[in-house]
């Protein structure tokens, strides 16, 4: 996000709260995400009228109704398409997309990968609850294999998607992950996403307490979460555990492995996180519980030209080097006059 910060008045969380009743189920993880986003927006220094939230269909996609900015609740899976058209024609706006695992990875998978590869300067928040909530409980593209749901009473035969892996594969320039319940962690990730120039992809683990309750309990469990999460910090060794006594290193097969700091092993043997290294980012994306701690934070962040930069530049260059009026355009080509 590089939108000019021109807010004269310092905004607060309250400025981003709408008068609409929030209609998510009580206890839904979406409340926490909404609250974190409303907390972060005043930090951006962007006037409220320059912020736009665009969503598709699903529980997550109700998001724009509850944020007092410009908003557009569109159709299933297509939020990135509207966001692209808006951002290309209005690079001055700060555009956010709220989507979910069904909206963004199933019906809208195509648009998601293309907005990432084009690197439009937008923020994409993918609420991953690993279930279809709004349609009342079918399995989603991130549901685990064998999952019993309303539409898979004998277990889902699908292999699930890995959202971080997809974003990296699509050429995303900013890829991160956070969790709904981690109100200390999410704001930092959201802020980084907003400040990144280019498409930012943030997967947010989000609990659906009605249809998939406890999907992330293993990772978020208060007692053990420090042993089960790997907090990523750029330039720092990959260390985790209640007592900071475990880490990640590359073995001789060039594969990640968990080490405990004993028998002479220490933090010095751990891999140093480098947000600009795609190999590390990919390796992290493949680290799945319970074999590995679940990585949280920024996996990958690099700079590339954005689509709208190039598009705008082409227009400006054309205006300078080959100026044209509509009158001239109409009269171009082989023209003849009849008297």
């Amino acid at each position: 996000m590089t939108t000019e910060a021109t807010a004269a008045v310092k905004l607060t969380r309250k400025d981003f709260v709408t008068d609409q009743d929030v209609r998510w189920c009580p206890g839904c993880g979406d409340y926490a995400i909404l609250s974190q986003v409303q907390r972060v927006l005043p930090e951006l220094g962007v006037p409220r009228e320059k912020i736009v939230f665009i969503s598709g269909i699903g529980c997550s996609s109700r998001f724009p109704y509850y944020i007092n900015t410009y908003g557009f609740h569109t159709i299933h899976g297509r939020a990135p398409t509207l966001a692209s058209g808006l951002k290309i024609s209005r690079p001055d706006l700060c555009v956010w997309i709220a989507t979910g695992d069904g909206d963004g990875l199933s019906i809208g998978g195509n648009h998601l990968i293309h907005i990432l590869r084009r690197n439009l300067n937008v923020q994409i928040l993918l609420f991953n609850n690993r279930i279809y909530g709004l349609t009342k409980g079918q399995y989603s593209p991130t549901s685990e294999e064998g999952k019993i749901t309303k539409s898979t009473p004998y277990g889902s035969p699908d292999h699930p998607f890995n959202p971080i892996g997809i974003a990296l594969g699509a050429g995303a320039t900013f890829v991160a992950r956070s969790i709904d319940v981690e109100n200390q962690h999410m704001p930092g990730v959201l802020l980084r996403a907003a400040q990144h120039k280019g498409a930012s992809f943030v997967e947010v683990f989000q609990n659906c307490n009605i249809f998939n309750d406890g999907a992330f309990d293993y990772t978020t469990d208060k007692e053990n979460k420090l042993d089960r999460q790997l907090r990523l910090e750029n330039g720092k060794p990959m260390v985790f555990g209640k007592n900071n006594d475990k880490g990640i290193r590359m073995n001789s097969q060039m594969q990640a492995e968990v080490i405990e700091f004993k028998d002479g092993l220490s933090e010095k043997d751990c891999l140093i996180h480098d947000e600009t290294n795609p190999a590390i980012a990919y390796m992290l994306s493949q680290m799945v519980a319970p074999k590995f701690p679940t990585p949280m934070g920024v996996f990958f962040a690099i700079q590339k030209t954005t689509y709208e930069e190039v598009a705008t530049e082409q227009i400006n260059t054309a205006k300078k080097t080959r100026p044209l009026t509509i009158e001239q355009l109409l009269k171009s080509g082989d023209v003849w006059t009849v008297k």
Binding site: H73, H111, D334
Partner: protein
């Protein structure tokens, strides 16, 4: 009347005047026949003839050489009077190989001129298209004036000292043909030579080769006295003005640019390549200096989605497609109708269903445009009548979209999209006004308040302080736009959306009638059938028939005076390139027992078939009898 003239070689040459000529060039898709046709058209236009063209090319880019699938054709009608179509049957046919002969010979008029490249009539090529005997030798072409010319050999001979490969030299044979016909129709050579020099500015070798091939063809016709006579088509009485020859797709693109310029807003095209609509994308991608953004989206849905997003931001959002793409855009169109944002969707129709005949024309998306969305989702529909008419229709589509805050569907089709005709250039400042006024007053702003006259809601774009609002597909309260599932409100909104579209009827000029104000029959058409219907009705009127022609440009809403107009005739006849889609609408709206003339061949109507069928209907004969 035949006169004698002097040729460049000093020989006397017989010149026969003609009122009109229909010529068709046909060859393999790699033979350059489209280019030959387009260049010959430019010569005719500059000579002051009225013209209409119809390129006809295969779905395959380079089908196996010498096969029927690979035949590409370009037809031009040029005349000393007004023309409305590219002509029913060619009186001159130029064919580059046996496949082109086989595919086209049935259309050539009796005693028509047939020019053939004999070099391509090899045993192998004849076999490919199942000619058992060489038609050039077996007398089967006796009813035509057959001119057998070694076009390939003569072309390569003319270029033999240029160091070109055989393949490169052979490629120039289309310009040899152009030279031949330029002589045949008395065209000055300078224009084409200038054109060659301009086109191959950066490739002087190619420019020289093509110039030589062109002159070789011209001189060959001149010195060998190949043709006993040559022909001259005098200039047509055309309204004074500045003209250019334009295809429907180019005119559509220019109409959009002109409208956006007039509105003072950037133009945003979101589009996915599809035949025969891609040329609009190509054309618009060149006009960045006029604030035109073209976004080649990942699919048809992204094409329309991005255009809606751009419209939300205050741009003139458009998307271009053909039938299969319109299917895919249906859901997004429903969203645009619900959120009441301006948008234009251009559907360059082609023959379906499914992939159908992608390069052939049809008018079979009318009911899709009218009704192809779930729920009650009415949209205005406008259809262009001819290549040049695409300009005003595209312009009008934008004007209405902005004025009424609604998506508009613009229908053209493959025939007028690729066909061309002279277009009298408009004065930009004379074009109808398009005013965009964004909402700015936070005190009075309501997302779904309505203009009294048009029922349009205000257009409030992001970046406007105090007007932050949320749009969405969920039904909203009239006025506030807040989500509402109130039954009365939904019924009200359904009616308002319909009423808004109906009010567009106040934009529609009175129906124009060519012919008697009442009588035995009126022939009503829409879209690209305008040309053949107009010409056919004119001919019937000359024969003394009591028949009129009227054309419908606005299909939703229909013109408010249309119902009364139809009552003035004993019969209402509706020719369409479909099974009767407008007829269904006319019957439903006006309870008129309209009679259809329907053609589903991927080809436009010919004038003569319409004359025959309209006569039959007027005489009370069964259409089957005249098929």
């Amino acid at each position: 009347m035949t006169t004698a003239g002097t040729s460049t070689s000093g020989r006397t040459r017989t010149v026969t005047p003609k009122h009109d000529v229909v010529i068709r060039f046909a060859g393999d898709s790699g033979d350059g026949m489209q280019l030959t046709g387009a260049q010959f058209t430019a010569e005719a236009a500059i000579a002051g003839n009225d013209i209409a063209t119809f390129p006809d090319y295969p779905a395959e880019i380079r089908a196996p050489a010498g096969t029927i699938h690979g035949v590409s054709g370009y037809q031009l009608n040029f005349s000393d009077h007004e023309v409305f179509t590219a002509g029913d049957e060619p009186s001159v046919l130029v064919v580059m190989n046996p496949a082109a002969l086989k595919a086209n010979i049935k259309d050539l008029a009796q005693n028509g001129i047939l020019i053939v490249d004999t070099d391509s009539f090899t045993e192998q090529n004849l076999k490919k298209v199942k000619y058992e005997a060489n038609p050039l030798e077996d007398g089967s072409l006796d009813k035509y004036q057959l001119f057998k010319i070694d076009i390939t050999k003569l072309t390569t001979a003319a270029l033999n000292d240029m160091g070109l490969s055989t393949k490169e030299a052979t490629r120039c044979k289309n310009f040899f043909c152009l030279g031949l016909v330029s002589w045949l129709f008395h065209r000055p050579t300078e224009i084409t030579i200038q054109h060659i020099e301009k086109k191959f500015k950066n490739k002087p070798g190619l420019a020289e080769a093509n110039r030589r091939a062109f002159m070789a063809g011209y001189n060959y016709a001149d010195t060998t006295e190949l043709f006993a006579e040559s022909y001259e088509v005098k200039s047509a009485p055309i309204t004074a003005g500045t003209y250019r020859n334009i295809t429907g797709n180019a005119a559509t693109a220019l109409g959009f640019v002109a409208a956006a310029q007039r509105a003072g807003r950037p133009l945003f095209l979101g589009s996915y390549p599809i035949t025969p609509a891609s040329d609009v994308l190509h054309e618009l991608s060149k006009y960045k200096a006029l604030d035109v953004v073209t976004y080649q989206a990942e699919d048809e849905i992204a094409g329309i989605g991005s255009a809606i997003g751009a419209a939300f931001g205050g741009a003139i959002g458009i998307t271009t497609t053909s039938g299969p793409g319109l299917d895919l855009k249906a859901e997004a169109l429903g969203l645009a109708a619900k959120v009441e944002l301006p948008l234009v969707v251009a559907d360059i129709q082609r023959a379906g269903p499914s992939t159908g005949l992608p390069t052939k024309t049809e008018q079979s998306d009318l009911l899709l445009a009218m009704f192809g969305r779930h729920g009650e989702s009415p949209l205005p529909v406008i259809a262009a009548a001819s290549p040049a008419d695409c300009f005003m229709c595209a312009y009008t589509a934008v004007r209405i979209a902005v004025k009424y805050m609604t998506p508009v569907i613009l229908l053209t089709d493959g025939y007028i999209a690729n066909g061309s005709e002279p277009w009298k250039l408009p004065e930009v400042d004379q074009l109808p006004d398009i005013t965009v006024k964004f909402a700015t007053d936070a005190a009075t702003y309501k997302p779904y308040s309505r203009d009294e006259k048009t029922l349009a809601r205000p257009w409030a774009i992001p970046g406007t302080p105090g007007l932050e609002h949320r749009l969405g597909g969920l039904e909203g309260q009239n006025g506030s736009g807040n989500i509402s599932s109130d039954p009365d409100n939904h019924e009200l909104m359904t009616k308002l959306r319909a009423e808004k579209v109906q009010r567009i009827a106040q934009e529609i000029p009175p129906m124009r009638v060519m012919g008697p104000k009442s009588g035995d029959a009126i022939v009503v058409g829409w879209g690209s059938t305008f040309g053949p219907i107009h010409a056919a009705v004119k001919q019937l009127q000359k024969e003394g028939r009591s028949v009129a022609h009227s054309h419908i440009s606005y299909i939703n809403p229909l013109p408010s005076d249309l119902g009364d107009l139809l009552k003035n005739y004993k019969k209402v006849i509706i020719p369409e390139m479909n099974m009767g889609q407008l007829r269904m609408l006319i019957r439903a709206n006006f309870l008129v027992d309209a009679i259809g003339i329907n053609k589903m061949k991927g080809k436009p109507f010919t004038i003569s078939e319409l004359v025959t069928k309209i006569s039959a209907i007027m005489d009370g004969r069964k259409l089957e009898a005249v098929q």
